[in-house]
């Protein structure tokens, strides 16, 4: 089982540099020292050592490997179970040495192709490496820029904070005065109202008394049926006579009524017939000239206009708000941890949550300035001046507050960017916000770095979200070789769509392939210079002369 290569005895299945471990002159000690066997037991197609070290060149031991040197190509290590199994694994045919093997040596052929392939890959890698240096430079500049921006924003924030505090104090001060004035105003209003009420009451009683006096002809303190019948104004059916029945109706079905009965009930019954101010029955159908409904309509219209105005204001506010939200999302930043987590739920739920929030904001506008429409509250001039002043202070405060919050948003978003993992040397930083597209038979795929992955049918149909950037997902040794996009559109009877993006070095950013190995779980292969971290390395075969010669 040994091959004489002229350079000494080579044990089948091991690289030359390990040949010294196998000394034909001695008994063989298993490399794990589990046993010692005659040297004839080495590569005799029977497994004697627990570690399989006695059979590097046969398939006799489980879980061991076989080395083929593949002169002219790269050496290879294959599982021993592939030795003499009838399939040519090593291009030098060394794994298939038993009688009847039909393998032919293809190493020079393969080696040539491999070298070509390698050179091409190396050129690609080189170009990628250069691009990456640019990326790193860009990233550096960008980071510096962002850091400077942070500094600037922090300074601005300090000013804004002071401004906000000043405005707040001013607002509080004037609001206190406004409140006091309004209190006075309200008290005065209340007093006026009471006075008016008393006057009304007195007027009514006066009118009542007049009617009483007119009816109580005999001035006996009672209004009798006869007295009622005498007043033709009380002829309800207009037949010219106040009948006993008609009269009885007014005196509460009695023969007569006292002042007390009159003032409490009788007057109310009679009033439509006798009162000067209300000659007409109580419920007259409206007439064109002075219909109270007309007034109501006017009032309604004015109110509606005011409401519409308010709503529009609010909508504009919301648009502004949403715009901000979107900007935030694009930057991959939530307003806070909680919002970020919410986005971790399904898209649908996220939308629901947002809808809910919108509804809520409809009811309680967060930072909407009070409407500037002038509503005449009938303040006295002094109060009106105070109210106007307070209004102005509030507005100024809101503006200061808004400025501060905008600054904070921007700061947070930049800080989040700065804290994000953009890989070694920030090489991925300049890619943030950039997108790549790829078309296959059915779909147009789009991946935005640190954004979304989407799919759109080529022949019509809407865009489907495959996922939002979630995290680096490569192995511990190279976490940046894989990106995970999660929480795409939910699949019927299945999970939410998600995508894994496998990154390799390439001279430009490019989606190489898109597939859907499991339903709604997508896989992309993407080339990017950002992955060309090192200058191109020699392949495993670097120790082999022919490579040095070629390179």
């Amino acid at each position: 089982s040994e091959l004489d290569l002229g350079a000494g005895l080579l044990i089948r299945g091991i690289p030359l540099e390990r040949a010294a471990l196998y000394d034909p002159a001695k008994d063989f000690v298993c490399l794990d020292r589990s046993a010692k066997v005659p040297f004839a037991f080495v590569n005799d197609d029977y497994c004697d050592c627990a570690d399989g070290s006695d059979e590097p060149g046969t398939a006799a031991c489980p879980d061991t490997t076989f080395f083929c040197s593949n002169a002219g190509h790269v050496p290879q290590v294959i599982p021993s179970s592939r030795v003499n199994d009838g399939i040519c694994d090593c291009c030098d045919t060394s794994d298939e040495y038993q009688e009847g093997s039909s393998c032919v040596n293809t190493c020079s052929l393969l080696g040539e192709a491999a070298r070509e392939h390698y050179l091409k890959a190396m050129r690609e890698h080189e170009a990628g490496f250069k691009s990456r240096m640019n990326l790193v430079g860009e990233a550096n500049a960008k980071r510096n820029e962002l850091e400077a921006k942070v500094k600037e924003l922090k300074a601005l924030r300090e000013t804004a904070e002071q401004e906000m505090r000043d405005r707040e104090a001013a607002k509080k001060e004037v609001e206190a005065r406004e409140a006091a004035a309004l209190a006075v105003h309200r008290q005065r209003e209340e007093e006026e109202r009471q006075q008016r009420a008393e006057e009304e009451k007195a007027k009514r009683e006066e009118e009542m008394k007049a009617v009483w006096q007119k009816l109580d002809v005999d001035v006996d303190g009672l209004i009798s049926l006869a007295e009622v019948q005498a007043d033709l104004r009380l002829d309800q059916n207009k037949d010219g006579v106040v009948s006993v029945e008609e009269a009885r109706f007014f005196v509460l079905n009695q023969d007569s009524m006292t002042w007390e009965d009159f003032s409490r009930t009788g007057w109310i019954l009679m009033r439509p017939y006798v009162s000067d101010g209300a000659r007409k029955p109580m419920f007259t159908p409206p007439e064109a000239d002075h219909d109270p409904g007309w007034l109501l309509f006017v009032l309604f219209a004015v109110g509606l206009a005011a409401i519409l105005f308010l709503c529009k204001q609010q909508e504009e506010e919301e648009e502004h708000h949403q715009q901000q939200e979107e900007e935030k999302r694009e930057l991959g930043q939530g307003e806070d941890e909680h919002a970020e987590e919410e986005r971790g739920e399904s898209e649908e739920e996220e939308n629901k949550a947002e809808d809910f929030q919108d509804d809520y904001e409809d009811e309680v506008p967060d930072d909407v300035p009070e409407p500037s429409v002038v509503v005449d509250h009938g303040y006295d001039e002094e109060t009106q001046l105070l109210v106007d002043e307070a209004e102005k202070a509030r507005k100024e405060f809101n503006e200061a507050d808004r400025t501060l919050r905008d600054l904070e948003h921007e700061l947070n978003s930049i800080s989040a960017t700065l804290e994000k993992d953009f890989g070694p040397e920030d090489a991925f930083l300049p890619l943030e916000g950039q997108c790549m597209e790829h078309t296959d038979r059915e779909y147009l795929y789009k991946i935005c770095w640190f954004g979304q992955a989407t799919q759109k049918p080529r022949h019509g149909g809407g865009e489907t979200k495959l996922g939002s950037w979630k995290a680096w997902a490569g192995p511990e040794s190279n976490p940046h070789e894989k990106m995970m996009f999660e929480n795409g559109l939910g699949c019927w009877n299945g999970p939410n769509r998600s995508a894994h993006v496998h990154l390799t070095c390439g001279k430009e950013n490019r989606i190489v392939s898109a597939s859907e190995p499991s339903r709604c779980m997508y896989h992309f292969d993407v080339e990017t210079p950002a992955m060309c971290a090192h200058p191109p390395a020699l392949p495993e075969a670097s120790s082999h002369l022919q490579w040095h010669e070629e390179l």
Binding site: D45, R82, I87, C491
Partner: protein, 911 residues
Amino acid sequence: VDHSKFKTCDQSSFCRRNRGMQKGMSGYEVIQDSLEVTDDAVRAMLINTKNQVEFILEITALDKNSLHLVINEKNPLHPRYVVRDALFEDLKTIKGFHLESKNTEKAVVEMGNFHPASKIELKFKPFTLDLYSGGDLVISTNSRGLFNIEHLREKKNPAPAVDDAPADSEESNKMDSDHPGQPDEDDVPGMWEEHFQSHFDSKVRGPESISCDFSFIGAEEVYGIPEHADNFALKETKSSDPYRLYNLDVFEYESWSKMALYGSIPFVVAVGEKRSVGLLWLNGAETWIDVQKGPETAVMSSIVNLMSGSNRRSPQVDTHWISESGVIDVYFLLGPGPKDVMSQYGALSGNTPLPPHFALGFHHSRWNYNDENDVKSVDSRMDEVNFPYDFLWLDIEHTDGKKYFTWDAVKFPHPKDMIENLVSKGRKMVTIIDPHIKKDNGYFVHADAQANDLYVKNKDGNEYDGWCWPGSSGYLDFFNPKVQEYWSQQFTLDKYQGSTLDLYTWNDMNEPSVFNGPEITMTKDAKHFGGWEHRDVHNIYGFLHVKSSFDGHLLRSGGKRRPFILTRAFFVGSQRYAAVWTGDNTANWDQLKLTIPMCLSLSISGIGFCGADVGGFFQNPDEELLIRWYQAGAFQPFFRVHSHIETARREPYLYGDETRGLLKKAVMQRYTFMPYWYTLFAEYEHTGVPPMRPLWMEFTADGNTLKMDDQFMLGSALLIAPVLDSRASTIDIYFPGTDAEVWYDIDTFKKFAKPGFELLGVTMASIPVYQRGGTIVPRKMRARRATSLMLNDPITLFVALDKGMRANGTLYMDEGDGYEYRNGKYALIEFSYQNGVLNGRNANPSGGFESKTWLERVVILGMKAAPKSASIVVGKIEEALHFSYDIASESLTVRKPGILMTTSNWNLIIG
């Protein structure tokens, strides 16, 4: 599962009618003078005393120990359906009937050629048929008086009452006068037409059901009648629906249910302490079976037992069989041992032919591998992690628009290259070929079917139209010999473009599945070749589908290669053509547990090449479940991972090192046992005794094994007890048999010498498997990336000594494919160990089979002390061998005897 989609007995009018029958009221008598006993048959006339309709009864005998009973109408209005095709072609009847005695009550006929001798006791009033074996009553027919044949009759005028309207008895009286001598029973609803949900069944032939009861005297349990997702030992059906046999595509079938599933084999094995018997109710129509533990006279016999001082009443299991149409066509298999019943059933329905060697390997499938790149990537990633496998499967999405025998031109533009790439590593491929045909004028199969009138018809004689994967589909009428021939021709390499001899076939949806049909299948009044209604033949449809595919495989290779086909639907005899898997199961622990009773039921019903989708078809198994399922599946005959299109990928390379390592270990275990598997399947073809066996088949006397659902025997040497519970840290293993038995853990060689339960610790790596003392198991310890690459690898013999220090075993070898083995080109090596000598002897030295396979190592378990020497002796040449002895495990390993396995005679002498 949506229960409302499937009928209960009560919703199936013939089941309702027959199940509602009063015991002992069937009123059938033997016309005494008609009895005729000849050397080769017993014949007699029966009469239904209620309406004077007459029937012919005939009993014949088969070699060996089997009786065949047929009862048909004497003068049927038109022929009743008799099942053809299903049974083995060359059934041999034997002679030897002899009338022993006859009086006015009964006749006794002896069957002298049976062993033990059998007797038939035919009672006249009412008709009862009792079978005796070795002096004991073993099967009693119609002793409960549930025998019934609804004779064929003319439809009354005016139209009969619809489903729920009461029958008009005056009408039937008038009817009687029109047909003197054949008065009808009163019509009951459902006899002439039937509704189910929105489906209408026009029953133009009216009622034609048959029913009979059979009691198994002395039987403790009855097994069989697959396919149900239920326990192995049949349960009583007193308070449930009967077991149903009606081939149905049941979506997300339920665990532990008697609902009918994809296949039907109306065969039971009744097992008792003294003997086992079998009964085949050969019928292809919808069938229901009631089971009840008897005897019904339990009170009586317990009094008798009380008086005789015995506590134990004689066990008995009563069964009642009801079919919608056909004739009484029953085979009684009289055993007496369970393996005898298997052989008798094999003789009847044909044995499973030896599959190509590699089909016993590991299969990986999913719905779907998306395209050629996907296939290539799966294959190379399996190799990257050195994970062995043999077959990659392509589901329906590989086709051009669900047109079978075609390829999606974009996803699979180079199918031959793709297949060749797999074959270059010793692997194979399977494509799915379903029986529904897309009604697409551009599809050649559809065009051929229309041009040559190959489709099933509806009741009006027009093309039947059903909805399946491709949408509107026609269903080829496999009952037409022309269709069978046409179908098999489609498999030839010139016809099936892109196929090669290494592309095998998966026949799915062949119940047949019809998405918009009643109970997701074909309407019963559809018409088949010969004028038969679908109701007569429903359960046979899938059988003929796979038969035609099998013929196609033979046709394409000129009979040179062994077919490999997998089918979902099956019937009596399907084993002759295909392996069966248990359909669309679900990834949960119950359905893992069910793989054992379901495959045992199939195994004892002729279909020993059985498996379940490893990991579960629907839903995603967690890693623990997947590992346990691999471990269980590795020791079940058909070993395939498969999953639904909406599941996550589960190819082993997607898992971490630990999980993947455990999955790989299970597959490697499977591979090391390939010589044993192949030997079992070779024996199976000869004996009919299935590789996967219930414990009671090997340990007939051990009553504890009768209800066992979680352990089984693989051959007679291995006890398999896979871990079936989540987070199990122990397993309660039952070691069957008596004190004479001894068992060895196949991994640690630890010895278990006491019968009964033993609680043992398990880890995630544990696959509890024990070799029985007294057996010799051949293995190949070098697992390769595909089993086809292991054909020439050397053998290790595991010799497990019994308490008398003896052991026996066999090894079958041939070319792994083709049919030369039927011309004797094989080796059958018989091993025996006694008195310290292991003898190997090729029982077929003149077969001309040559192999490079040599004897690598012999491991002897249960060796109490280290020997002094070991040597191999061939002829006069003796060669000393190295050996090592491990005192802790009492095992001896003899190094490299080195002889070729085909060496005609050799001895390994332990000194």
